[in-house]
Symmetry: C2
Subunit: 99 residues, 2 copies
DNA sequence: ATTGTCTTGTCAAACAATGACAAAATTACA
DNA sequence: TGTAATTTTGTCATTGTTTGACAAGACAAT
C-alpha cells in the first residue's frame, strides 16, 4: 500500500463507484485496477490524468502524488536517500533560476 | 552531461588514467566508459561501487551523487517535480521516525 | 446458492536498458 | 605529415522489467 494507491482507492470509495468503472476509464480490466489500488502496479502517467478526470480532482495534485511515489520507490532502499533528494532539489532550483 | 558523469570524468583525469583502465575495472569496453562519462548511459549500482574503489573516493558520496542523478532524471520533465521531491522527503522522514 | 465485486497467480507482449562490436573521429607526438 | 593511441558514435542482440490480459479463486451481499 502506497500513498498514491490508497488515495485512488479512497477517491473511488468516496464516490461509490466500482473498480469496473475505473477499469473502463483506463481501458483495462478490474484485476489491473485492483493491483493499482494495492500498489502492486504503478500507473502510467497517462492513466493518472484519466483518473484525475474521472474523479474530478486536480491533475497536478494527483500527478504530484504519483511522482513522489515513484521517487520514493527509487530511493527507499538507499542509505543516502535523503541526501540524494536534497541534491536533486538543488539541481532543479538551479535550473529554474537559469531559465 | 550530468553531474555524475562529469564527476567521474574529472576523477579519471585527475588521476591521469585511461578509459581503458576504467573499462577493465568495470569489465566493459571503452565505448561504454565513454558513454558513462557523457551521460549517455547510466551506471548500475555495482559499477558505482567499483568506481569508488578505483578512484579511492567515499562510496557513499559517489552513490549519493549517482542516485540524485537518477532522481533528477525521473522528475526533470514534470511541472510538479519540486513538490514531489518534497513529498518524498517527508515520507522518508516519517519512516525514519517510526523505525 | 447465485450474483456481483474484488483479488491472486501466471504469462506473453511491449518496452527499456545494457553491453558488445565495428568503425569513425580526435588527440598526441614522432 | 604519418601513425599509433584514445575516445566517440552508431548499431544491435541480449537481457531485464513492466504492462495488461486471462483464468480462477475469495469474499460479500442477498
Amino acid at each position: 500500500m502506497s500513498q498514491f494507491s490508497e488515495h485512488i482507492r479512497n477517491l473511488r470509495e468516496e464516490r461509490k463507484i466500482r473498480q469496473r468503472e475505473v477499469a473502463a476509464c483506463l481501458k483495462a480490466d478490474t484485476a489491473f485496477v485492483s493491483k493499482l489500488e494495492k500498489g502492486e502496479r504503478q500507473a502510467r502517467r497517462e492513466q493518472v490524468l484519466l483518473l484525475a478526470e474521472l474523479f474530478n480532482v486536480d491533475k497536478e495534485e494527483l500527478l504530484s502524488l504519483w511522482l513522489s511515489e515513484k521517487v520514493y520507490d527509487l530511493v527507499k532502499d538507499e542509505e543516502v536517500a535523503l541526501k540524494s533528494l536534497k541534491t536533486a532539489v538543488k539541481k532543479i532550483d538551479n535550473n529554474k533560476k537559469s531559465r
